[in-house]
């Protein structure tokens, strides 16, 4: 007997699955077809302006830094200012996301924009978020042919661009957005929910930023 049959057989026996299978199947199918929304914290349920404000507050509370700009055209300038302020080389790594590509990077002659996945030698990676989540100051990043996941983890500094219209009050709203984008029950290969820069408390419970992922997370909120 295979492990599969043994495990499922034992479960069915214990759960009395033979007698009430139709009811049980229906309960499971119903839940998978229509996931219950559950309890969603009040904290993220304000107006759009309140959501953006809360998003920035929560992100800063977990040691991310935030810059707000009015339009996407301003993003390259903010990135280059960030590099200068942190004394970093004028070089960034990013995917070919069309929202990032549409920005005027070529106006910054001195800035070297490297395309594609990170090779582990990049100081700074730039990504565009699928969404922001106000309740926890989290950004949601999706993998795909234009969005390498390595950019989110290998560089020392991670800069993430978030559009205000994509800032939701809660995680459930973002999950609904994913179902709409990819179809029911389907997901991108990787969904990264990132809340602040990487950290560890493993030595004497002292929290230190910059464990294996980026040492700093900078959010550029557009709009």
């Amino acid at each position: 007997m295979s492990g599969r049959d043994a495990i499922l057989g034992k479960l069915r026996q214990t759960l009395g699955a033979d007698t009430n299978d139709a009811t049980r199947r229906e309960a499971v199918e119903r839940r998978l077809a229509k996931p219950p929304r559950g309890i969603v914290p009040e904290r993220g349920q304000g107006s759009d302006a309140q959501k953006v404000k809360l998003f920035c507050q929560m992100a800063e509370a977990v040691s991310a830094s935030v810059t707000r700009v009015r339009s996407p055209e301003r993003v390259p300038r903010v990135v280059s200012d960030y590099l200068r302020a942190k004394n970093l080389p004028a070089s960034v790594r990013m995917g070919t996301d069309r929202r990032l590509k549409a920005m005027p990077w070529d106006k910054l002659k001195a800035l070297d924009v490297k395309s594609g996945p990170s090779d582990g030698f990049d100081e700074v990676g730039v990504s565009h978020a699928f969404a922001g989540i106000a309740e926890t100051g989290t950004v949601a990043l999706l993998s795909g042919k234009d969005n390498p996941s390595t950019v989110n983890f290998l560089p020392e500094h991670h800069i993430v661009v978030v559009d205000v219209k994509d800032i939701a009050g809660d995680l459930e709203t973002v999950l609904t957005g994913l179902r709409r984008k990819f179809g029911k029950g389907r997901m991108p290969r990787t969904l990264n929910l990132v809340t602040g820069p990487s950290r560890s408390g493993d030595i004497e419970q002292k929290i230190i930023l910059g464990a294996h992922g980026p040492r700093a997370l900078h959010l550029i909120v557009v709009g």
Binding site: G3, R4, A6, I7, L8, K10, L11, R12, T14, L15, A17, A27, V28, R31, L32, P35, P36, R37, G38, I39, P41, M58, V62, P117, G120, T138, S143, G144, K145, P148, S149, T150, F153, L154, D170, L171, L175, L178, G185, R186, M187, R189, T190, L191, N192, L193, T195, S198, S200, G201, D202, I203, E204, Q205, K206, I208, G210, A211, H212, G213
Partner: protein, 478 residues
């Protein structure tokens, strides 16, 4: 790994006399409790979410066969492979088969309690495959050839000067005069050393906090980012997870996430929550080419339908041990196997047998703090009591304890005899207690009086005092 749970009492004595350990345990008492409290207080919906989280897992467990099938279907649809393993041995064999097919020489590992449970590292080492732990705490204890003493802070028993000594020994190719006095410099060194390993490894192995039936995704929740590099950079990603990690939908993940990090580290959300679904897609610039999930039973199906079923709701946050006075006193290693603290006291006898783990449910004051902070509302003290009953039924506790209980029971079941005996004994004991009203030595109570005095009883029994009090009250109200 070697199981030392049967010698829990001696382990505990050793732990109490270990000055380094006692110093380190201060960090548990000081750190976790306040942080959890603050995070829970800041979310008005916290307790309602605990109820919701409990209900989600109860529903899932009642339909576990069906959700596992739905999950498997989704993983397969997204190009992943599902392997079913009844035992630890089965799971290890699947891992080894995949390693052999890839000609793997190095595997990196994200932090995972389930791979501790199946003792995967030792097994791979015997097979000639280097397994590298990448979580800082796990890396430290791997260098020390130890096991985790806490399920989310594996190296909580180690002090920083010990880590420095370990790093100097293990990284002897680095300059000897480098500064390693602070946690920051130690972390930096681990970061540099492990970076190379992620790129070298052919296979990355992680556990899972959740498996999602709706989408076939595995979810890891981490702070360091090592788990992500482990599952992102090698050619093959293997997820090892026990069957009760299943949740029905993404929304259910969201509900439980809200209580997980708050209960564990006092964060609203851990830094990285990552959902992985299948291998690299067409056109993807990075990600693993193969994605395998090993669904492990290893005793879970036997807990279902018993008085220990509620334990299968556990999400491994560590809150129960962070709040446990026994854990605070003896640390995690005294428990003698993979899972320490109250959750370990319930789970260990379930997974390795009450004859091996039967001491652990006795390591409790029944103060109830574990249950009061458990995000999944698992009735831990009640289940420890069930284990004590089973241990007694099977005659596993020492003869002195058993006869003592029997003698006590013989009196307790006969109230007149009990009252008579105590009313005779109490004044005598009170008399011997002398003016200090304390005993510093007493026959049969050496274990107690070795470390502290035993207070002498009052001159009358509780029952006598109660009767007098009641009659005084009646007299007053008449």
């Amino acid at each position: 790994m070697e199981v030392t749970s049967p010698t829990f009492k001696q382990n505990a004595v050793n732990a109490l006399h270990d000055a380094q350990l006692q110093k380190a345990l201060g960090n548990v008492r000081a750190g976790f409790i306040d942080k959890r409290r603050k995070a829970a207080d800041a979310l008005p919906e916290f307790d309602a979410l605990r109820d919701a989280a409990r209900d989600i897992k109860d529903h899932t467990l009642a339909h576990l066969d069906l959700y596992l099938e739905a999950y498997e279907k989704k993983v397969t649809e997204s190009g992943g492979h599902v392997h079913w393993a009844e035992t630890a041995e089965d799971a290890r064999r699947v891992v080894l088969d995949i390693c052999r097919m890839q000609n793997a020489r190095t595997v990196t590992k994200g932090k995972s309690m389930i791979t501790e449970e199946i003792a995967l590292n030792d097994f791979l080492q015997l097979a000639g495959i280097k397994a590298v732990e990448t979580d800082l705490g796990e890396y430290i204890i791997q260098l020390r050839n130890e096991h985790p003493s806490h399920i989310i802070a594996p190296a909580v028993h180690v002090n920083k000067d010990q880590v420095e000594a370990d790093f100097r020994r293990a990284h002897d190719y680095l300059p000897a005069d480098r500064d390693l006095t602070e946690p920051e410099t130690l972390l930096d060194e681990a970061r540099r050393v492990l970076r190379a390993q992620y790129f070298e490894a052919e296979i990355g192995i992680t556990g899972a906090n959740f498996l999602v039936a709706e989408t076939g995704s595995s979810v890891i929740v981490t702070n360091e980012g090592n788990g992500d590099l482990t599952q992102l950079l090698p050619r093959v990603h293997i997820v090892v997870a026990s069957i009760e990690k299943i949740v029905p939908t993404l929304n259910d993940v969201s509900q439980i996430l809200r209580v997980l990090a708050r209960s564990a580290t006092g964060q609203d959300m851990s830094v990285y929550t990552t959902l992985s679904t299948g291998p690299r897609r067409k056109g993807d610039p990075d990600g693993p080419e193969q994605y395998h999930v090993i669904l492990l039973d290893n005793g879970r199906t036997s807990m279902l339908g018993t008085e220990f079923q509620d334990m299968l709701r556990c999400i491994r946050c560590g809150a129960c041990m962070n709040h446990c006075p026994v854990y605070h006193a003896v640390g995690g290693h005294a428990y003698g196997w993979v899972y320490p603290g109250p959750m370990g006291a319930v789970l260990t006898p379930s997974l390795i047998g009450v004859d091996q783990g039967g001491h652990l449910p006795n390591a409790s004051t029944f103060c109830g703090r574990c249950e009061s902070v458990c995000p999944m509302r698992i009735p831990l003290p009640k289940m420890m009591r069930h284990w004590r009953e089973r241990e007694f039924e099977r005659g596993l506790n020492p003869a002195t304890q058993r006869y003592g209980m029997k003698i006590w029971a013989a009196f307790a079941k006969r109230p007149r005899l009990y009252n008579f005996a105590t009313s005779m004994a109490i004044p005598v004991l009170a008399l011997f207690g002398g003016r200090r009203k304390r005993f510093s030595a007493l026959p049969l109570a050496g274990g107690w009086t070795k470390h502290r005095d035993l207070p002498a009883p009052e001159r009358r029994t509780f029952m006598q005092q109660w009767r007098e009090r009641e009659s005084r009250k009646q007299g007053a109200s008449a």
